[in-house]
Assembly symmetry: C2
Homo-oligomer: 284 residues x 2
């Protein structure tokens, strides 16, 4: 695969650094990448095989019982930013057997009766898997903050709880890749309008989407605070400009390839005598 | 998509009928299909979009809360028959968000302390989903019978319990598509040998595979009995010759397309006022 169109590795170009300001990031920009849409789509296609290959090695380790690492992609975004497209076009390239996808909806009564991390912890990926969180514990400091769904001191407590939780996950060998897909308010209007214009897209629209949209600035503030307070060396945030779908998909694919490359999964070594098994098989 | 190369619909060509004898089915045959490997691969590619489209409608219904049906693909086979390839190349074409994949391994101590259907019931697909069982409750009358893992009367009881369980699932709106991938003993030897020959495939091999292979005839008997006794109008078995991987994949894809077509999922109708929402959105 050609990576030459990345002038800066995606993980560096997108990682949140001290002093980060969400408002300074242009949702139409393509940080680190010099290609256009056609090049981006070609590179996305070219990246399917390396991603699949790395993930197969990781999965092989889990089957062999030798896996120590896993990857967890955390996807957060305003509505229509393209989480579903990432799941379909990026994650969809790898063997479904190795993927654990968790979509977090509005918490149930049972979930609300526990700490906010209770339902999250249960869905952490097993060793050797690629976990994907479509929304996550961050909802509890995003809509949770904007809509004051919990008392202010509880919201405050959660940032620290998240940092501790993710540090623990990292110690367990989970490489946490946190992604905010960042779209502009105008782009969201266009995408919502398209859903209203096309009857086969009506199911994707919810009147509540406009209610949340009316609190756009509050949400951007909540994202700024959450990203600032929970970006750590072991679990950094990446803000991925997402007005251009092709860029967002390409960038997340690169982040996953980088994370898997970092784990460096190797094909498991046989724990049986290969030559002896060849004889047994031939005789059977 | 061209379906003209199917002289008989897959579901009819493969469905088990009274008097069925597994031993009469040639694992290299391609029932109902007149094309060769190239045609089969082209048809498999052509089938991805209709399958994805049907499944998206079903998923849309589940999001809208109007789904009443779901599809459950039950995959059973001897080792190396290609279950993994079906998951990857057939199921892998649809949106991962709508798929619920359950791989049943050797039961845990906790699972063994319950009825054999206990762990199965928990993994039945929600309405609007495509469920896939990679192995299933049939293990309990296959390896269960061959290895005498339960007393004979208990094994006997299970056939009736399975029929009742699947009838109940069908009443809940689950369309159960049961598939046995049928390979020949010779083809299995070749595929196992390939795993032993290639270090990057060693993880797929297990010395136990040859142990089970040595009981091939017992397994075929157990399949014959299980298929005979559990093939019902609401949950028929399909025996899919699988020595030719391209045929097995194409056939299972057709079975899924047929099952989804039978459910006839429609795009959900908006439960909000579309014109009013357009105004609200424009003003936001």
């Amino acid at each position: 695969m050609s990576t030459s169109r990345w002038s800066t590795p995606a993980s560096l170009a997108l990682r949140v650094e001290p002093g980060f300001r969400l408002a300074d990031i242009d949702p139409r920009s393509t940080p680190g990448y010099d290609g256009d849409k056609d090049a981006g789509k070609a590179d996305l296609d070219a990246g399917r095989e390396p991603l699949e290959g790395l993930q197969e090695r990781l999965f092989a380790q889990s089957v062999a019982g030798t896996a120590t690492g896993s990857v967890l992609l955390v996807l957060q975004a305003m509505d229509t930013a393209g989480k579903g497209g990432i799941v379909r076009h990026v994650v969809g390239a790898v063997d479904p057997q190795g993927v654990e996808l968790a979509s977090f909806k509005k918490p149930t009564a049972e979930e609300l009766s526990h700490d906010f991390l209770w339902r999250i912890e249960k869905r952490l990926p097993d060793a050797g898997r690629l976990g994907v969180f479509d929304r996550s514990h961050y909802e509890d400091v995003l809509i949770g903050r904007v809509r004051a769904l919990a008392p202010a001191p509880e919201i405050e407590r959660r940032y620290g709880a998240i940092v501790a939780f993710e540090a623990q996950a990292a110690e367990m060998g989970i490489r946490v890749v946190k992604v905010m897909l960042h779209i502009s308010k105008d782009e969201q209007r266009e995408r919502l309008a398209e859903r209203l214009d096309r009857p086969e897209k009506h199911w994707k629209y919810n009147p509540g989407d406009v209610d949340e949209r009316q609190l756009w600035d509050d949400y951007m503030d909540a994202y700024q605070i959450a990203i600032e307070r929970t970006s750590t060396p072991v679990a950094p945030w990446h803000v991925v400009p997402a007005d251009r779908k092709w860029y967002a998909r390409l960038a997340v694919q690169r982040l996953l390839i980088d994370a898997l490359t970092h784990i460096e999964p190797q094909w498991p070594v046989a724990d049986y005598d290969v030559e002896e098994e060849k004889l047994r098989l031939a005789a059977s």
